[in-house]
Symmetry: C2
Subunit: 148 residues, 2 copies
DNA sequence: TTATATGCAAACAATTTGCATCCTG
DNA sequence: CAGGATGCAAATTGTTTGCATATAA
């Protein structure tokens, strides 16, 4: 069992929650896949192991993990939310509008930005959503070729 | 009639669309309110003038204006989308998690960030969503006091 | 006049909830 | 064994669509 999962187990118990096999498995999936999954994808990935699994369990588990700040909810597209394990370190997302690929990056400019805002507006910043939209190198090339 | 509205009128006609009183009124509301309205708020603001207005007209109009890039759709919270007039100039949003207030700001750090990403990943960036979440000065003070 | 917009009601999709049953602690 | 967790089905919410009627061009 990874350190991540051990940590989650600990947090769940600290919150008086139970460690069910569904919860553990969901975490594993999120961890293996590296995140950016939506509820239905998670559901389908879990289904083989839990044939009677219901979507509401997925939503309830995600909701719980979100509250415990073990999972982060992303709003990368308008249709549904996507989820990833909260790794503690702030990072941003780059989304390709053509193929949907998501690249994570860390932005050196964001820390001074937070400080700026604290100074200018007295805002205490607790979180951020930085999502940049555009076209990845591959899709640019493909579109270019089709246009030829 | 403001220059904004004149511009919209022109764009609509260029796209072969009609200039209905509902569309004009919706634009006026968005302009007067300065944006950040959701579909239902717009609906309620328009209702007095158009008692038989339906929500679907609001959604269809917003969809149309969004396609023409006259209106921008924001995803500030998970419940619904909010809309504002597209002013051409990129800006970011600061959202208070307590009172819901939205502050717009312009971030000097964002332009170099786009350039960075183009360099690092070959990404062509066409848009961005930068939303910072936290607590405004007033709400911090209030919470502080309650805790006392 | 004629195609585009609107209003209304019904359809949808993502997410949430009530309740009986199940299972972890 | 007791209370939290699950599965199922039904309810909610935000948004979209089909169709008959109204209206801008």
């Amino acid at each position: 069992m990874s350190a991540q999962i051990a940590h989650v187990e600990q947090q769940l118990q600290a919150a008086g929650k139970r460690l069910t096999s569904q919860r553990v498995h969901l975490l594993h999936i999120l961890q293996e896949r590296g995140g950016h999954l939506d509820a239905d994808e998670i559901y389908r990935l879990m289904k083989p192991r839990f044939p009677r699994l219901s979507l509401s369990t997925v939503y309830r588990t995600l909701g719980l993990l979100k509250e415990l700040e073990l999972v982060r909810e992303l709003h990368l597209d308008r249709e549904h939310h996507r989820y990833e394990i909260e790794r503690g370190e702030e990072h941003q997302h780059l989304v390709c509008l053509e193929c949907g690929r998501v690249i994570e990056f860390k932005c050196a400019h964001c820390v001074p930005m937070h400080q700026d805002l604290a100074d200018r507006y007295g805002f205490q910043i607790t979180g951020s959503r930085v999502e940049l939209l555009g076209y990845c190198a591959e899709c640019q090339a493909r579109v270019e070729q089709q246009r030829r």
